[in-house]
Symmetry: C2
Subunit: 214 residues, 2 copies
């Protein structure tokens, strides 16, 4: 078993870049190295936070005003941090999270044009000093990602976000890339047009370069 | 029918002061005067906002962290304002609301010791320039109010807030009174130890004094 500090890793990117696949590969690689960890996701990650996620993503009979969406996202995050992420880190387990704070800047900020000042205020309220130790941003051009997302969802009802238009995802991608440019130490951008094996290997290299795994 | 501007009225106070009764009496008095209005409540007031209310008040299997509670309250408020309060005011109907922003300062601020700075930031995000035209604060000593609340709830499961202790409600009441002292033009404190008829008459006097009804 590893005795090093547990790490908080987040994986970000727009629909169709292969986040779920890479989170699973990363989990497998940590298990092979005997590193205790949990895999989780946002919005969601606990039963209560998943209930809030459901309200945000699946309200069909009544519009969710953009500000309400933003507050629900941060409410779910407050629940997830307090009831799942922090207790696991305290217990010495790594946390691998599919989407986190950068998704809010990308989707609600870039995508829905909500005020970045408001997002920053909410980030300060909810995260306190907690930040991911490493964020992997999986990046590909939008048309390629959406094609992959559509194939995956063929026959399934797309959720409210996945039914948005290409223009929206271009704004989301641009906001993600701006985050990565502003925080190059924390956020590593990985070319998700590579094969699954190549992307997985690149992510492990990032952990090895930090001496978190060997 | 009245042709004056529609008014946004809120009724506040701790459990057991008679808010529901007075909201109903006020609604009846407005109807008798031919004033088109809707009666609503917070948290809640629309199907979506009621779903959020349900999460806040009835989560039993998982703790609701105080910050999450605060954000859910404001998310429900953003939904209620955008989808119900503002459309009704625009359509010329008065809105009578059982609890609104002052309840957040009283319960989450006074009761749960959440940061007033955070509440003020959220108020600015969600309310914009919208404030009640008049807020009636129904006030009695806490033991008297709780006795009334307990009689009403005999046999029914108390919700999470109503099962709190006297000390909590003393803080809530103090926060309400501080709000009223800071905004004496908007918030009128009414002695709720009076009879139902006396309280109802006093509330109508407050509207008459503003020449909103005659």
């Amino acid at each position: 078993m590893s005795t090093a500090s547990p790490r908080f890793l987040t994986v970000e990117g727009i629909e169709g870049v292969g986040k779920s696949t890479q989170v699973a590969r990363l989990s497998q690689a940590l298990s092979e190295r005997g590193i205790a960890h949990v895999v989780t996701r946002e919005p969601g990650g606990t039963p209560l936070a998943e209930k809030i996620r459901d309200i945000v993503l699946h309200s069909r009979d009544e519009a969710v005003p953009p500000m309400a969406e933003l507050l629900l996202m941060f409410a779910a995050r407050a629940v997830h941090l307090s009831n799942h992420v922090e207790p696991n880190l305290r217990a010495g387990r790594w946390v691998v999270c599919d989407r986190f704070i950068d998704a809010t800047y990308a989707y609600q900020g870039g995508g829905r044009h909500l005020s970045l000042d408001n997002i920053r205020q909410l980030e300060a309220m909810v995260l306190g000093a907690r930040r991911p130790d490493l964020t992997v941003l999986l990046d590909t051009p939008v048309p390629q990602a959406l094609q992959r997302a559509q194939q995956r969802n063929a026959g399934a009802a797309a959720d409210r976000f996945e039914s948005e238009r290409t223009e929206f995802f271009e704004r989301v991608r641009a906001a993600y890339l701006a985050r990565a440019a502003a925080e190059p130490r924390r956020i590593e951008t990985v070319d998700a047009a590579q094969s699954v094996d190549e992307v997985a290997a690149r992510i492990l290299e990032l952990l090895e370069a930090r001496s978190w795994i060997s």
